[in-house]
C-alpha cells in the first residue's frame, strides 16, 4: 500500500487519558519501545475533565482510613459483583500512585500539616479523595503528560485506531487513520493496551465528549475479547439541565461533599425519605448531623446526599416524576445555604468549587454562591468493559490488555466517585508493566498487504459512497442522534424488558442503514467521515448494553428494572459476559462472580 505509514513498537497504547499515560510511563520505564495513539491532542482526553478527586486511603485527614476500608467500600458500592482481586489491588496501590504523582509535580490541596488534603465523597467511609479544588483531572493529566513527554514515548496525536490486527490468536498491531490528512498507518506491536475510555455518546444526555464512542470496547470485541458488566452504566445524579445546550454537563459530587443539599420544588430535602437498608446505619438521620459530617466531624454520619450515585439518581428521577421537579425538569442543588453555617461562605465556595462557580456563571448565568443550581441525571460512566485478568490486565485475547474506564471488573454494579482516577493510575501502571513483560517474549509479525488494503477500502467506503444523490440520505450525524434518542428513552435509568427489546430492534435497523451511510467531503480533517466510522462502535456497545440489560432480570446498582425492582439471589452470583460469535452474532452468557478469598471475606465483614 503506497501511502501507508508504518511504525513498530514493543508496546502500543491506544488512549492518552490517565490510564494510557500511566501505562506508557510504566512500560517505557521497563525498557521497551512505546508508542501511544490518541484521537485528540495530547492533554485533552476525558481525564482532564474530572473534577472531584482521586480516591486513595492515605489517611491524611482521618487516620482510621486504610486500604481495607477502601476495599470494603468499593465492594459494597459495586454490590459485590466486582472482581475482588482488582478491588483489593486498587485499594492497596492507590496511595503509592498518588504519592508518585506528587513526585512528578502534581500539587494537591493541603491539610494544615502540609499533607495532601482529602475530601468526602459518596460511598467512601472516610474523607478519601485527594483533590485540587474541582479540577483534579486537569492536575493529574497535565502531570502525567508533562512527565510522560520526557520518557522517550512516541506520541501520535489526532490519530484514530480503526481495527486491531491479529496473527492467529494474538493481537499484533493496529490499523489507524490520522485526522489531519486521512492517511492510513500500520502500527505493529508485540502488545497492545486499550485505554480508550467509555461510551456515553450512545446516549442523548451525557457528560462525555465526542471521543466516547466505545471504540476500545468494540475494537477488542471485534478482535475476539470478552466484554463484561455492560448493563451497568452510571447515570450521575447531577448534570446541568438548563439551558438546553449545556444539558448533561457534569456538576461535581464535590458540591455535595462540601455541604450542598438536594431539594424539590416544595423546598423539601427529599433525600432523607429513602435510605437503602445497606446504608441505614451509616447515614445521618437529621440535617445537623449531615452538616457536621461534611465539616469533618468524625462522629457524625454522612448526609443522604452522599449515598451512592445510582440511588441518588433514582431519587431525583422519582421527584421529577412525582411533579416535584424544578422548572426545567431537574431538582435543586443548593450550596449557597451554607452561609447559614459559615461566615465567609461566598469566598469559601469559590475556593473549593472554582470551576463550578465559573461554569454556572458563564453558561447558565447563575451565581451558585447565591442561588441554587438546577440538576438532573446525566450518562456518565461505563462500569462495564473489556474483561481482564485482575493482576495483569490482559484480556481474554493474548497480547491485548485494557485499563481504565474501558476495562471491567473493579467497579461491579456501581462505581464510587473518585475510584476512577485511582483506577487509571493503578491499573494503567499494572497494564504497562505486564504488557512490557509480554512484549519481551515475542517478535513482530508481518502483516499481509491484502488485509491492509481491505481495511483501507472499508474505511473509505462512506466517502466513496457519497454522490449527489446521497445528499437526501440520512447523514452520519442523524443516525447518531437517532441512536442517542432511543437509547436515552429505552435503555436509560429505569428499564423494562419490552422497551429494551424495542431498542434492540431499532439498533438492528440502524445497523443496516449504517452500511449505506455516506459522508461528504474528502479525507482531510473530516468530522462527518469520522462520525460515520464511529457508528459501528456506538451500535456495538449499545447492543451489548441492551442485551446485557435484558439478561439481568433484577435491579442492582446502576441497573434498575421496573419489571424486576428487587435484587435476585441468582443474579448476585453472576457477571454477564458478551463475545462475538464466528458468524458475527453477539453471544451472551453468565459466568460466576470471581470468588472472594477468606481474607477478603473477613475484611469485608469487619469493615461494612
Amino acid at each position: 500500500m503506497s501511502d501507508l505509514q508504518k511504525q513498530q513498537y514493543d508496546v502500543l497504547i491506544i488512549g492518552a487519558g490517565g490510564a494510557g499515560l500511566s501505562a506508557a510511563i510504566k512500560a517505557s520505564a521497563a525498557g521497551v519501545k512505546v508508542g501511544l495513539i490518541c484521537k485528540s491532542l495530547l492533554g485533552k482526553a476525558h481525564t482532564v475533565m474530572a473534577e472531584g478527586g482521586v480516591a486513595a486511603a492515605l489517611g491524611n485527614v482521618d487516620e482510621r482510613d486504610s486500604w481495607e476500608v477502601h476495599f470494603a467500600d468499593t465492594m459494597r458500592g459495586g454490590q459485590y459483583l466486582n472482581n475482588p482481586r482488582m478491588a483489593e489491588l486498587h485499594a492497596q496501590e492507590a496511595p503509592d500512585r498518588v504519592r508518585e504523582l506528587e513526585g512528578w509535580g502534581a500539587l494537591f490541596d493541603r491539610t494544615d500539616e502540609g499533607k495532601i488534603l482529602q475530601r468526602n465523597f459518596g460511598g467512601h467511609r472516610y474523607p478519601r479523595l485527594a483533590h485540587v479544588g474541582d479540577r483534579t483531572g486537569l492536575e493529574m493529566l497535565r502531570t502525567l503528560q508533562d512527565h510522560g513527554i520526557h520518557q522517550g514515548i512516541q506520541f501520535h496525536m489526532e490519530c484514530t485506531v480503526f481495527r486491531l490486527l491479529k496473527d492467529g490468536d494474538r493481537v499484533v498491531g493496529a490499523f489507524a487513520y490520522d485526522r489531519e490528512k486521512g492517511r492510513f498507518s500500520l502500527y505493529q506491536a508485540k502488545a497492545v493496551i486499550m485505554a480508550t475510555g467509555g461510551f456515553g455518546r450512545a446516549f442523548r444526555v451525557t457528560s462525555n465528549s465526542w471521543e466516547y464512542t466505545g471504540d476500545g470496547h468494540t475494537l477488542a470485541y471485534d478482535a475476539g475479547a470478552e466484554l463484561m458488566d455492560m448493563e451497568f452504566i452510571q447515570f450521575h445524579p447531577t448534570g446541568m439541565v438548563w439551558p438546553p445546550s449545556v444539558r448533561g454537563i457534569l456538576v461535581t459530587e464535590g458540591v455535595r461533599g462540601e455541604g450542598g443539599i438536594l431539594k424539590n420544588s416544595d423546598g423539601k430535602r427529599f433525600m432523607f425519605d429513602d435510605i437503602p437498608d445497606l446504608y441505614v446505619n451509616s447515614t445521618a438521620d437529621n440535617e445537623d448531623e449531615g452538616w457536621r459530617y461534611t465539616q469533618g466531624d468524625r462522629d457524625a454520619r454522612r448526609p443522604p446526599e452522599l449515598l451512592t450515585r445510582d440511588h441518588v439518581a433514582r431519587c431525583i428521577v422519582n421527584q421529577i416524576k412525582a411533579g416535584k421537579g424544578s422548572p426545567h425538569g431537574g431538582v435543586f442543588l443548593d450550596i449557597a445555604w451554607i452561609k447559614e453555617h459559615i461566615p465567609n461562605a461566598e469566598a469559601h465556595i469559590k475556593k473549593k468549587l472554582p470551576s463550578m462557580y465559573h461554569q454556572f456563571k458563564e453558561l447558565a448565568g447563575i451565581d451558585i454562591t447565591k442561588e441554587p443550581m438546577e440538576v438532573g441525571p446525566t450518562t456518565h460512566y461505563a462500569m462495564g468493559g473489556i474483561r481482564v485478568d485482575g493482576d495483569t490486565q490482559m484480556s481474554t485475547v493474548p497480547g491485548l490488555f485494557a485499563a481504565g474506564e474501558c476495562a471491567a471488573g473493579l467497579h461491579g454494579a456501581n462505581r464510587l466517585g473518585g475510584n476512577s482516577l485511582s483506577d487509571l493510575l493503578v491499573f494503567g501502571n499494572r497494564a504497562g508493566d505486564h504488557a512490557a513483560r509480554h512484549a519481551k517474549q515475542f517478535d513482530h509479525v508481518a502483516i499481509s498487504d491484502a488485509a491492509l488494503e481491505n481495511l483501507k477500502k472499508e474505511a473509505l467506503a462512506p466517502l466513496d459512497r457519497f454522490d449527489d444523490s446521497s445528499s437526501d440520505a440520512p447523514g452520519p450525524y442523524q443516525i447518531q442522534y437517532e441512536l442517542q434518542d432511543f437509547m436515552q428513552d429505552l435503555v436509560g435509568i429505569v428499564r423494562v424488558e419490552e422497551e429494551m427489546k424495542d431498542a434492540l430492534g431499532k439498533i438492528g435497523t440502524l445497523k443496516e442503514r449504517v452500511k449505506e451511510v455516506a459522508a461528504c467531503g474528502n479525507r482531510q480533517y473530516n468530522p462527518g467521515w469520522h462520525t460515520a466510522l464511529d457508528l459501528h462502535n456506538l451500535l456495538t456497545v449499545a447492543e451489548a448494553a441492551t442485551r446485557a440489560g435484558i439478561e439481568r432480570k433484577e435491579s442492582r446498582g446502576a441497573h434498575f428494572r421496573d419489571d424486576y425492582p428487587e435484587k435476585s439471589e441468582a443474579f448476585a452470583k453472576v457477571n454477564i459476559v458478551i463475545s462475538k460469535e464466528h458468524d458475527g452474532g453477539m453471544n451472551i452468557r453468565q459466568i460466576p462472580v470471581k470468588p472472594q478469598t477468606d481474607k477478603q471475606k473477613t475484611i469485608i465483614e469487619e469493615n461494612v
Binding site: 485528540s40 491532542l41 495530547l42 492533554g43 485533552k44 482526553a45 476525558h46 482532564v48 475533565m49 504519592r99 506528587e102 513526585g103 512528578w104 509535580g105 500539587l107 490541596d109 493541603r110 500539616e113 502540609g114 499533607k115 485540587v132 479544588g133 479540577r135 483531572g137 486537569l138 492536575e139 497535565r142 508533562d146 512527565h147 520526557h150 496525536m157 489531519e180 465528549s209 465526542w210 471521543e211 438548563w242 439551558p243 438546553p244 445546550s245 449545556v246 454537563i249 457534569l250 461554569q359 458563564e362 453558561l363 447558565a364 447523514g475 452520519p476 450525524y477 442523524q478 442522534y481 461528504c520 467531503g521 474528502n522 482531510q524 480533517y525 473530516n526 468530522p527 462527518g528 467521515w529
Partner: protein
C-alpha cells in the same frame, strides 16, 4: 428562537474564505453549539476541535468576531445577533482545515523546557511537607487548559512571527508554575533569557485579557520571571526592552 447568520472560515493551508450559514439560535446556546448545529445540518465535513464543552480542555479556541475565545464558553447572547457572528481559526498558527490549526509547535516548545525536578522527599514515606500558602500561587498557573489563546494574541508571535526565539505567554506561565513550585529545585532563568526570549515581552497584557482561566499571566507569571532573570544577571529589564524596541 431566531434564525441567525454565521460566517465561518472554510479552507485549508492553500487558502479559503468565509462562508455563510444560517441556523436557529435557541436560549443559552454557545458558539460551539451553533457550529455543531451547522455541521450536522449543512456542513458535515466542517473541521472543528472540541472535547469537554465546559471550558476544561482548551480544545475549541477560535476567533469570534475578531476576538480569541473558547467557543464552548462564549454565549451567543453576548452578541447582537442581527449583525451575524463571524468565526475563524486562530491566526497565529498555520491552518490545517477550517477552524482547526496546527498547534504542534506548542508541544515542541514544551518538550525542551527542563522538567519538574523535586528536592529529596521530606518524609520517610517519600512525601513532602508543603504548606497551603505555598500552593496557592502555583495553582493559579496550573489552571492553564492549554488553549493557546494567549499565544494567538501575543504580537511577538502573531505579528512578528518570532516562534523560534520566543516561547510565548503559555510557556512563561508553565515555567512560572515550575520555578515557583514549592519543591522544584531546577532553575530556568538562563534559558529564559537566552533561549526563550522573555525579553521580547513588553508587557502589553493582551495575553492576560484573553485567558479563559483568568490567569494573571503578565502580572503574576511574566513580571516575576523577568525580575528573577534581572536578579540572576544583574541585567535591568529596561535594557531587554530596548533590544525589543529596536
Amino acid at each position: 428562537m431566531a434564525k441567525t447568520q454565521f460566517k465561518i472560515w472554510r479552507g485549508d493551508k492553500e487558502g479559503g474564505d468565509f462562508e455563510d450559514y444560517t441556523t436557529e439560535v435557541t436560549e443559552g446556546m454557545v458558539v460551539l453549539d451553533a457550529v455543531h448545529q451547522i455541521q450536522a445540518e449543512s456542513a458535515n465535513d466542517l473541521a472543528v476541535r472540541w472535547n469537554c464543552k465546559a471550558g476544561k480542555c482548551g480544545s475549541c479556541s477560535a476567533e469570534i468576531n475578531g476576538r480569541p475565545r473558547l467557543m464552548c464558553m462564549t454565549r451567543l447572547s453576548d452578541f447582537p445577533l442581527d449583525e451575524g457572528v463571524a468565526i475563524e481559526p486562530m491566526r497565529t498558527f498555520k491552518i490545517e482545515k477550517d477552524l482547526v490549526t496546527d498547534v504542534s509547535w506548542n508541544y515542541k516548545v514544551k518538550e525542551k523546557i527542563p522538567k519538574f525536578s523535586p528536592r529529596p522527599a521530606d518524609n520517610a514515606d517519600g512525601t513532602w511537607k508543603i504548606d497551603s500558602v505555598d500552593t496557592d500561587r502555583v495553582q493559579e498557573f496550573r489552571k492553564c487548559v492549554e488553549c493557546y489563546l494567549c499565544q494567538d494574541v501575543c504580537h511577538v508571535l502573531r505579528e512578528h512571527d518570532l516562534h523560534d526565539e520566543f516561547i510565548g505567554p503559555r510557556f512563561l506561565v508553565h515555567i512560572a508554575g515550575l520555578d515557583m513550585h514549592p519543591i522544584d529545585i531546577e532553575t530556568r532563568t538562563k534559558q529564559l533569557k537566552e533561549e526563550y526570549g522573555i525579553g521580547y515581552c513588553n508587557i502589553t497584557k493582551c495575553c492576560t485579557t484573553v485567558c479563559p482561566e483568568n490567569i494573571k499571566i503578565t502580572d503574576n507569571a511574566i513580571i516575576p520571571l523577568k525580575e528573577r532573570v534581572a536578579d540572576d544577571f544583574y541585567d535591568p529589564i529596561k535594557k531587554l526592552m530596548k533590544i525589543f524596541k529596536k
